[in-house]
């Protein structure tokens, strides 16, 4: 009964429930991913992996904000060659789909990392396009429809697994980027990554993050993330993973109603690694109370006029 209500098929993958671990949260090791899966996640996303190892930025890398967290990790990751072993091992211990998050500094790099991830066993690839593009310093690939298209096209050609593009909210109109990703072949979209933000300590008069600027996550960004999902769902049929500030079942349901077929949860995992189970129970109770037979039935209902 439980799996009936919450089970979904997402971009061709079958998920026992629509709650997914967001990238960058405990996402390095197979053992951590397994633990999160045991906490009730329907799928898990790895930390974003690039072509070669990166140590990331020095601490402070995480600062607390009013209703969320600011982070600037600097994409620490062991590089896909080393990480492929972890993917292989993860596939032997995980009972839920494994999405590998991928980033790169060029379309070719994205494609190459993605194809290695798929070779190692990734069930899907999520493109993290919120990182600076080398040719146009400072801006993100995810802010330029042109670069985004190129990255998605090349990666799509290189992998035979679902390709999910995780969009940045730091844009004037997210539907422009959504359209670029969809037309270039994205099977699904994740909306959204963190909002660019910062914090300054008044005593030392210094930015707190070692990288000065970082990404805001958690409840503070939920209304923005929800609007992004709504904007995309208003215009496109593409499957969407809602992400940003989800803490309880109500938040998750808001995203389903806005048009998301599944949700990713990040920051809230710190408080409770059973958060997936708790949220699933809440969604189920809600669906029962409202007499729905499946979570699929409520997707996009807030768009009814």
């Amino acid at each position: 009964m439980e799996s009936n209500l919450l089970g979904i098929s997402f971009a061709g993958l079958s998920l026992e429930n629509p709650t997914i671990l967001a990238s960058g949260i405990l996402g390095y090791t197979a053992e951590s991913l397994k633990r999160v899966a045991k906490g009730g996640a329907g799928a898990v996303v790895t930390k974003s992996i690039g072509a070669s190892p990166r140590a990331g930025y020095p601490n402070p890398t995480v600062v607390q904000a009013e209703a969320g967290l600011l982070n600037a990790m600097g994409l620490p990751n062991p590089g896909i060659d080393v990480y492929s072993e972890e993917i292989k091992y993860a596939k032997t211990v995980l009972r839920v789909p494994l999405f590998v998050s991928v980033f790169g500094y060029s379309a070719d790099e994205y494609a190459s990392v993605a194809s290695k991830a798929v070779e190692a066993g990734a069930d899907a690839v999520e493109l993290n396009v919120s990182c600076p593009h080398v040719k146009q310093t400072g801006a993100e690939i995810g802010q330029s429809p042109k670069f985004l298209s190129e990255v998605v096209e090349k990666t799509k050609a290189a992998v035979n697994k679902p390709l999910i593009v995780k969009l940045s909210p730091n844009v004037a109109d997210i539907t422009v980027l959504a359209q670029a990703a969809i037309e270039a072949g994205a099977d699904a979209l994740t909306a959204v990554n963190t909002l660019k933000a910062m914090a300054i300590d008044t005593e030392t008069m210094m930015p707190i993050l070692s990288n000065v600027k970082g990404g805001l996550s958690g409840p503070a960004i939920k209304p923005v993330a929800l609007r992004c999902v709504f904007d995309i769902a208003e215009q496109f049929e593409v499957p969407i993973i809602g992400c940003g500030g989800i803490t309880d079942w109500r938040d998750a349901v808001e995203f389903f109603l806005a048009g998301a077929s599944a949700v990713e949860i990040g920051t809230a995992v710190a408080d409770d690694d059973e958060v997936f189970r708790t949220i699933c129970r809440g969604i189920e109770t809600y669906l029962r109370k409202k007499h729905y037979g499946s979570v699929k039935e409520i997707v996009g209902l807030a768009h009814r006029k």
């Binding site: 960058g24 949260i25 405990l26 996402g27 390095y28 090791t29 053992e31 951590s32 397994k34 633990r35 930390k47 190892p53 990166r54 140590a55 990331g56 020095p58 601490n59 402070p60 890398t61 995480v62 600062v63 607390q64 904000a65 009013e66 209703a67 969320g68 967290l69 982070n71 990790m73 620490p76 990751n77 062991p78 590089g79 080393v82 990480y83 300590d201 005593e203 030392t204 210094m206 707190i208 070692s210 958690g218 409840p219 803490t247 990040g266 920051t267 809230a268 995992v269 710190a270 408080d271 690694d273």
Partner: protein, 269 residues
């Protein structure tokens, strides 16, 4: 997520004390950490330099102390800090040692002695017997000998040095083996270099003795999110830093062997 203990508080170092040629103790005031329990740690922000995890060595009337060994940039910077320097504090984080009654044994190596001193102070009045084995390279590096001597009332404190300049000339594990065979202990606590912890874990396992060990891993968020500090399925910052023998068994293939480096790859401990 937003919790009072995770917000950075700026505070001044009010006192610096030299404990050994390589270790200094820094004291500052902090309301939340003033309520910390032995085993918990803070993330200390050294503006412009780094933010590092440090075990709480003592709390006393809102005054919080950490003992720091100079090993790299951040810790060397701290050794040059004077009273009045502003630092940022988050925490206290992590779990703590579980208080035990009866006969307890504490085994410390290096700055691992710091949280055990805090624990010893708390346990001294409550336990039947409190024994402490402390090891160091050389006499000068034996930390808190006077304090521990007072707490353990003399003959229950065993010290070892590798060069024999004080106490027994051997590794800390040598007198430990004899002690464990000779006496019955209700609980053993340890903190120190991971190879030492691992050896002690093996010794207590052999003898089917209970153990709590505090571990160290690379820490970034300190709140169980970023995954930098994982050992097996556990997050050292949140599920630890104190682990029981049962938990250590689950992570035996990593304990004393591998950890995650800054880039998230597995590197030797």
């Amino acid at each position: 997520m937003p919790t009072a203990n995770n917000a950075i508080r700026m505070t001044e170092i009010v006192n610096v004390r030299t404990e050994s040629p390589t270790v200094k103790t820094f004291t500052f005031t902090d309301r939340l950490c003033g309520k910390a329990k032995p085993g918990q740690f803070v993330m200390l922000w050294l503006p412009g330099i780094d933010e590092i995890p440090l075990s709480i060595m003592d709390v006393n009337n809102g005054l919080v102390s950490v003992s720091v060994k100079a090993v790299g940039d951040a810790t060397r910077h701290m050794h040059n800090m004077e009273a009045g320097t502003l630092v940022g504090v988050r925490g206290p984080f992590g779990n703590s040692f579980i208080e035990s009654r009866g006969r307890v044994l504490l085994v410390g190596g290096g700055t691992g002695t710091a949280p055990l001193l805090f624990l010893a102070k708390q346990l001294s009045a409550k336990t039947e017997r409190l024994s402490f084995v402390e090891g160091a390279k050389t006499k000068d590096e034996l930390l808190f000998v006077r304090e521990l001597d007072g707490i353990c009332s003399g003959k229950n404190l065993i010290t070892t040095t590798e060069d024999g300049t004080a106490g027994l000339q051997c590794l800390v594990t040598q007198p430990l083996g004899e002690l464990l065979d000779k006496e019955r202990f209700d609980m053993i606590y340890t903190c120190g270099p991971e190879v030492m912890v691992k050896k002690i874990f093996e010794m207590t396992e052999q003898r089917k003795l209970p153990l709590e060990a505090s571990l160290e891993r690379l820490m970034r968020c300190g709140i169980g999110l970023c995954g930098s500090c994982v050992i097996g399925k556990y997050r050292v910052c949140r599920d630890g830093p104190v682990f029981t023998a049962a938990q250590l068994r689950e992570v035996a293939d990593e304990l004393g062997i591998s950890k995650l480096g800054f880039d998230g790859s597995r590197i030797p401990v």
